[in-house]
């Protein structure tokens, strides 16, 4: 048939990945170096900065958003500067300030999420299609890191459940795994650790279907900066931050618990569930309290809330479970 709907070809399928990545990086590097050098010579430092590959990606573009009833109210937002310069993204360095310095070369376009495992049919979602799947909502969430610090971040995205419904998982699928982008040429810093890459995280299906679990594309009303997990990441506000995988390239539906990065690294420290829980001690950090980012040193300390304060929405997921055992 000549007439009909053209097949959906994600742009990433046209050129073999290795080739376009290399070509892209070379062209971008060469062109932007030349332009940036010229601009800098003219004294237009701001222009040079805008044109340099570190900021030339889509980060900073405004997103069209709608209000959400699931947003958290009554909290002072953490500043955009702190949210975007204090990051744990070990592929770009283990120091908090490194990802914002080093993630500039993360190729956020073209981008696609591959969906496979226990689904009706494996398929690939292009990032542009994902952005249009549902209206993007502004959702403020508390963010609690396992290292006992916390932020309040205005994310942009829609419920992960909306995406999962499109994936058409089989009823036998009990867990869902998320894999992050990994290319050791771009993420050179990853090899400064003994962690097994790519980064992997997972949720039980009912957790993933909870409306609070957010498939996230932006923050502060703008496209995610690379260091925050561009172009698409997970935000699971009632769990420690490391459960919220960044820069997702694959989603896999399984009938058993997937291997997850920090749990593999130290199962006694990082459980599969890793719900925020002030009553379950961590070998390194007391989880009873936390430090709010951006406050002066004498005013940072505050009490940690069970399920990070989202118990009303999620506690029922764990009815009858011993959360000391399944931490």
């Amino acid at each position: 048939m000549l007439i009909g709907k053209p097949p959906e070809i994600p742009s990433s399928a046209i050129t073999p990945k290795d080739q376009y990545l290399n070509r892209r990086r070379f062209l971008r590097g060469a062109a932007s170096t030349a332009v940036a050098a010229g601009a800098a010579a003219l004294g237009a430092e701001r222009l040079a900065e805008v044109l340099s590959p570190r900021t030339a990606a889509l980060a900073g573009t405004r997103l069209e958003t709608v209000k959400s009833p699931l947003t958290t109210t009554g909290e002072e937002l953490t500043s955009m500067k702190d949210v975007t310069t204090y990051n744990n993204f070990y592929e770009f360095g283990v120091d908090k300030g490194q990802p914002s310095q080093n993630a500039g070369d993360l190729p956020t376009r073209p981008w696609a999420i591959r969906v496979d495992g226990m689904v009706k049919k494996p398929r690939t979602f292009d990032i542009e299609a994902l952005l249009k799947l549902r209206p993007l909502e502004d959702r403020v969430y508390r963010h609690r890191c396992v290292e006992a610090w916390s932020m309040v971040i205005p994310w942009v995205g829609y419920s992960l459940s909306e995406f999962i419904n499109q994936c058409e998982p089989l009823s036998s699928a009990k867990y869902v795994q998320f894999l992050s982008y990994y290319d050791k040429r771009v993420e050179k810093w990853a090899s400064e650790t003994t962690i097994y890459w790519p980064y992997s995280e997972g949720l039980r299906m009912d957790e993933a279907m909870n409306p609070l679990a957010l498939l996230t594309f932006g923050l502060y009303g703008e496209v995610l900066p690379n260091q925050n997990g561009a172009p698409v990441r997970l935000v699971v506000p009632w769990k420690y931050g490391f459960k919220s995988a960044k820069s997702i390239v694959a989603v896999r539906f399984l009938d058993r618990i997937p291997p997850t990065t920090w749990n593999d690294q130290a199962p006694n420290e990082y459980g599969f569930y890793s719900n925020v829980n002030p009553n379950v001690d961590h070998p390194r950090w007391s989880q009873r309290t936390e430090r709010r980012i951006g406050q002066p040193f004498y005013a940072q300390r505050r009490t940690t809330l069970m399920f990070n304060g989202y118990g009303n929405q999620v506690a029922s997921l764990y009815n009858g479970m011993d959360l000391r055992k399944f931490f």
């Binding site: 003994t194 962690i195 690294q265 130290a266 430090r291 002066p296 040193f297 940072q300 300390r301």
Partner: protein, 225 residues
């Protein structure tokens, strides 16, 4: 800041004391001033940061990291002095700086501990006791500070004379244990899989290994002579 007890305590080589005497007073004064300034630099940065509220996103963590790192760095530098003097006798005058470096190491270790007591434990004795019992990186960190305490307390010329050079030297060998504990504390604090403490570990390892190696070299030379 001169300490006449230093030479006799730290080396039996009479040539060293001659060299120590030959350094001109203004030069020594200048070097001491620079060392003081360098040692006070991290504290200066912290105070400036606290006053101007520019300690970054997580000031508590910044203070903890800065004081901890200053402690380990100063301990390491103070442990480099003996091997350097033995390798290069012309640097014998470095001994005049060791006490200063050691005391500043103790000073930063105490600030580090105080940060924990105030900003992490909130002066809660029960919380501290629980931490020391349960968290091995805190246990070994506190142990390292306790090991440094008698060394700081016996750092005066009076204490050296009172103890006698030999006993003083033996007591101050505890600094090796304290430094090793400090580095283990660093390893146990970072997440498994993170290798940041490796540089400090290698440097300390080299400095500790240098001692038996230099002893061995000395024995070989004496046999040859």
């Amino acid at each position: 800041m001169g300490h006449p007890g230093g030479a006799s305590v730290n080396s039996g080589n009479p040539a060293n004391s001659v060299l120590l005497e030959t350094m001109k007073r203004p030069t020594l004064l200048l070097l001491k001033t620079l060392t003081w300034l360098a040692c006070l630099w991290p504290l200066g940065l912290l105070v400036w940061g606290a006053v101007t509220n520019t300690l970054g996103a997580d000031p508590t963590a910044a203070i903890t990291f800065c004081t901890g790192l200053a402690t380990l760095r100063l301990l390491t530098i103070s442990l480099a002095i003996t091997p350097l003097r033995r390798l290069f006798p012309r640097f014998s005058w470095l001994i005049k700086f060791r006490r200063l470096l050691g005391l500043f190491a103790f000073f930063y270790a105490s600030l580090h501990l105080l940060t924990y007591v105030a900003l992490y434990a909130g002066f809660n004795v029960n919380a501290m006791a629980a931490d020391i019992a349960r968290r091995r990186f805190i246990t070994i960190g506190v142990a390292a500070w306790l090991l440094l305490l008698p060394l700081a307390a016996t750092s005066t010329n009076w204490a050296i004379r009172k103890l006698g050079g030999k006993r003083w030297n033996r007591l101050h060998k505890l600094v090796y244990v304290a430094a090793v504990f400090g580095v283990i504390h660093y390893w146990w604090q970072v997440k498994p899989g993170v290798l940041t403490p490796i540089t400090m570990t290698v440097i300390l390892g080299v400095l500790l290994l240098a001692r038996p190696l230099l002893d061995w070299r000395q024995r070989l030379r004496m046999r040859a002579a």
